[in-house]
């Protein structure tokens, strides 16, 4: 086996793993707050990229500031969509359990994908964002795009940690995740926390799309695989742990890339899932999941 390519494989894996991680963190956040798996998470990513693409096209000249403005607007749009999804879920009847909500998010995902196909067509779209060029790390070519993506993901991680563990809102969210009823008795509104979780996930999903599209292009159909891989990352990290998801994503992306490079490129999609299955069989609560996850 040829080991000389490993640094390159790892570099590629980290790029895509960062995106998986962001998507996975979105899953984890919503799951933590409401025990719901948001199937529309992949569509958030797609819309983040496509909306930015459209907005960039509106501004004349794709300068960096125009692109950033477009990106910010796209994030705002995503936040609105996240809030809409949350509102829709609130209309559910009594007698609904988490599974009902999951089905509704699946419905929304299907509808969003169809809408994206109608609006943007079937072609791939992209927009420029990263400066050209790369650096060499341990013999591997690491593009600025990769560096920025990974750095942004780590920043988001840090931000997430700060919010969840250093602000009152974050504490309130964690309290609600543990016991909504107890949280209510001290004046926290669990529904408000769930809304924040949806907003946070929409933000991360949208950001993932904005980071990914300049590297990889985006089409209306990409949501399914992204959601699957992101979900894998979330589960590998321990479902209710957003940082676990980001780490999980990086790990899964790297394993996938190493598998492709060193074993066989035919089985590309299989690596992520085989890795996940191994993690789950050996540690059913995920890499970072606590005992609580076992009971779910």
């Amino acid at each position: 086996m040829d080991f000389s390519g490993i640094p390159q494989f790892v570099a590629g894996g980290l790029t895509v793993g960062a995106v998986y991680g962001l998507v996975g963190a979105g899953f984890s956040l919503i799951f933590k707050a409401s025990k719901v798996i948001n199937f529309a998470q992949g569509e958030f990513v797609v819309l983040g990229g496509l909306v930015t693409y459209s907005l960039v096209g509106l501004f004349t000249g794709a300068t960096l500031s125009a692109t950033l403005a477009a990106a910010l607007t796209a994030v705002a749009v995503l936040l609105a969509i996240g809030a809409l999804l949350y509102t829709l879920l609130r209309t559910a009847k009594r007698g609904s359990n988490e599974f009902t909500y999951v089905m509704v998010t699946l419905a929304v995902a299907i509808a969003l994908r169809g809408a994206a196909g109608l609006v943007w067509g079937t072609e791939y779209k992209t927009f420029p964002l990263y400066p050209r060029g790369s650096v060499k790390v341990l013999g591997a070519v690491v593009t600025y795009g990769t560096l920025i993506t990974v750095a942004a993901t780590l920043l988001v991680s840090l931000g997430l940690w700060l919010v969840l563990y250093r602000t009152m809102i974050g504490k309130a969210m964690r309290a609600c995740a543990d016991s909504p009823m107890a949280a209510q008795t001290v004046g926290i509104r669990p529904q408000r926390m769930v809304l924040y979780a949806y907003l946070g996930s929409a933000f991360m999903g949208g950001l993932a799309g904005i980071l990914l599209t300049p590297i990889l292009m985006m089409s209306y159909d990409n949501g399914v695989m992204l959601a699957l891989k992101g979900f894998t990352a979330a589960v590998a990290g321990g479902l209710a742990n957003p940082f676990g998801a980001i780490v999980g994503g990086l790990v899964i992306g790297t394993i996938e890339s190493l598998g492709v490079g060193m074993i066989s490129s035919e089985l590309q999609n299989a690596y992520a899932f085989v890795a996940l299955l191994l993690v789950l069989f050996l540690r059913p609560q995920g890499l970072f999941g606590g005992r609580a996850e076992l009971a779910r």
Partner: protein, 620 residues
């Protein structure tokens, strides 16, 4: 004793509500077959090949969905990757017929067997996962299989799939005609439905529902949860493979992604929209959701949006699916069984327990939770036909001790010997099958099953026990029937736990434990929340069971019960025994009074004062 002895006004009060008391009539029981009967009529309405094609694909999917309902709807195991087994069946048939020249009819069972084996192999580790972890793991299977099929293209045809698959033939007659294939598929669906119904409406089906609702309760009834889950997983995989085989002989082509992730998810969607857990719900859901895209052909680019909207609306308005709009499903076991039981002479034999010495002997039993020692070095024993009690303040470790004996918790150290054998390594359901029955501090009945079904569930614990007094053992129906009579539940036999009162629920749980013919009963706070009269009745019941040779370990705070029926009482505090003796001795023990019973007005007559002192302490 009948239920009229209970406080007047309570009797059957809940049953004047809604549906369930009356035995469902024959037409209602047969209603479950209605969708299938209607499907038989389809070709008589139209022979249009396109329409028949849609219906045929519906039938093929029904074969999968019905099996999936047993897995997802009944046992609550969410499989988002069931297309894997359809693919396996399809490829088996495709490859065996095209590459090895097998007869199609021979290839079908081969595919089903292969699917069952693979389901067993991947099910064993996967089904240990819960909830979304399980769903996620199953989601990976179609992806992995897809990659494998493409990679080993020399055998499987790779991404181009397998073409030229021959039609099925009976002798010289080739099964090609649209109507003929439709009816052939329909017959298969009926057979599958019938088998599924047999499974669902058997005690095994009850077990599945119990597992779905409450695994500890199911284990306490003696249900081997792991084995049940794998069994239903394998059954559903076999059905799915059958469907795959029929598909390839119809379309004459299969590729690696014909039944991929999206298909697998769609199976669950169809099931859930139709209403899982009722068998006919999946049928309706499949028909509706497969016709929807056909009706939206003229606006096919809008179809996903409409589909998503329909799905969202259904789930928001009818969370239990279309079938859930109807009342609770018809009960499976009816009061008819009870009548059959009453006709038999009640079981009066005393159980001959072939045990020398103690029935249960515990030596130095310990249980830690992190740094907390919930039970520390407990030594205990009980002989056949004894009633003993364990009391103590909250947090003393009483429930923990019961859980350790029952097997719900593994011990940190110590030996538990039951009927001469060490059982501390056995799981809960195995101990139930050995003859340890239990009830829980918070009543654990399966809300989705009727009273009689809940009690029937307890029969599982009889397991393989082959007693010498076999001729004294009555038929299962009779056991349940006589239990229902004895416990005064005759009038509520077809009610659901949500419709009866607390005391009746307690009795049902007791009945479920007794149905397993336990030699040792562990009761955790059975008297909590009961009135004085009810406690008296309960005491009578328990004494009767002792006459039959059962031993009972009782944990409770209600001194009215403890003091009157227990021969010996153990007092725990902070996990260790602080006193042991007869009720009189315990009442006068200074340490016990200090820790638990109260030091003021400590008197000879324990019952009156103790129950007063315990009015607040009880019902923790």
């Amino acid at each position: 004793m009948t239920s009229s002895d209970i406080a007047p006004g309570v009797r059957s009060g809940a049953l004047s509500n809604a549906q369930s008391a009356k035995q469902p009539s024959a037409p209602r029981r047969l209603a479950i077959w209605l969708p299938l009967v209607l499907l038989a009529v389809v070709p008589l309405v139209s022979r249009n090949p396109y329409l028949l094609s849609v219906w045929t694909f519906i039938l093929l999917n029904l074969i999968v969905v019905i099996g999936l309902d047993l897995l997802v709807g009944y046992s609550g195991q969410l499989s988002l990757g069931h297309g894997v087994f359809v693919t396996i069946g399809g490829y088996a048939s495709a490859l065996l017929t095209t590459k090895l020249g097998w007869n199609g009819w021979a290839a079908i069972p081969a595919g089903m067997i292969a699917s069952g084996i693979i389901a067993f192999v991947i099910g064993a580790p996967t089904l240990r996962l819960r909830g979304y972890y399980l769903a996620m793991a199953t989601l990976g299977f179609p992806v992995v299989l897809d990659a494998v099929l493409r990679n080993w293209g020399g055998i499987t045809g790779g991404s181009s799939g397998v073409t030229g698959i021959p039609r099925l033939a009976i002798g010289d007659y080739i099964l090609k005609d649209a109507v003929a294939y439709y009816y052939f598929a329909w017959v298969v669906v009926c057979i599958v439905f019938f088998v599924a119904k047999l499974i669902a409406h058997s005690r095994f089906g009850l077990s599945l529902k119990a597992i779905h609702a409450d695994e500890p309760a199911a284990a306490a009834r003696g249900i081997d949860i792991a084995r049940a889950k794998i069994t239903v997983f394998v059954v559903s995989a076999v059905f799915a493979a059958f469907s795959g085989s029929l598909y390839v002989h119809y379309v004459q082509f299969i590729g690696p992604d014909t039944f991929g992730v999206l298909y697998s998810i769609m199976l669950v969607v169809m099931l859930v929209v139709g209403g899982a857990g009722r068998l006919w719900g999946g049928v309706v859901g499949t028909i509706v959701l497969m016709w929807l895209p056909e009706l939206l052909r003229s606006t096919s680019t809008w179809e996903p949006i409409v589909f998503g909207a329909v799905l969202a609306v259904v789930m928001l308005c009818a969370p239990k699916g279309i079938a859930g709009l109807w009342a609770r499903r018809a009960a499976i076991l009816y009061a008819a069984q009870r009548e059959a039981g009453a006709a038999q002479p009640p079981d009066r034999t005393t159980r001959a327990v072939a045990v020398q010495g103690d029935l249960l002997a515990i030596d130095n039993l310990k249980r830690n939770f992190g740094g907390v020692q919930a039970v520390g070095g407990l030594n205990y024993h009980i002989a056949p036909g004894q009633i003993k009690a364990i009391i103590g303040p909250n947090g003393a470790g009483k429930s923990t001790a019961l859980a350790l004996i029952a097997g719900t918790l593994p011990p940190s150290a110590g030996v538990i010997a039951f009927a001469g054998n060490n059982i501390e390594a056995l799981p809960a359901h195995a101990r139930a099958r050995l003859g340890i029955g239990r009830t829980f501090q918070h009543i654990r009945l399966i809300a989705d099953l009727t009273v009689i079904e809940n009690i029937t569930l307890g029969l599982t614990a009889i397991g393989e026990r082959n007693p010498h007094d076999d001729k004294h053992r009555a038929a299962p129906d009779a056991i349940v029937g006589s239990l229902v009579e004895r416990l005064g539940l005759a009038d509520v036999a077809d009610a659901y736990p949500g419709q009866i009162n607390q005391y009746q629920c307690r009795l049902v749980e007791l009945g479920a434990a007794l149905a397993g013919d336990p030699s040792l009963l562990l009761l955790d706070e059975p008297a909590a929340g009961l009135s004085t009269a009810e406690v008296d009745q309960l005491a009578t019941i328990l004494r009767t069971e002792r006459e039959r040779g059962r031993s009972i370990i009782l944990v409770d705070h209600v001194m009215q019960l403890v003091m009157t029926i227990a021969e010996e009482i153990l007092v725990l505090e902070y996990g260790t025994a602080i006193a042991q003796g007869t009720p009189a001795e315990i009442l006068n023990d200074a340490r016990v009074r200090a820790a638990y019973l109260g030091t003021r007005n400590a008197s000879r007559d324990g019952a009156a004062h103790a129950s007063a002192a315990n009015a607040g302490v009880a019902n923790a």
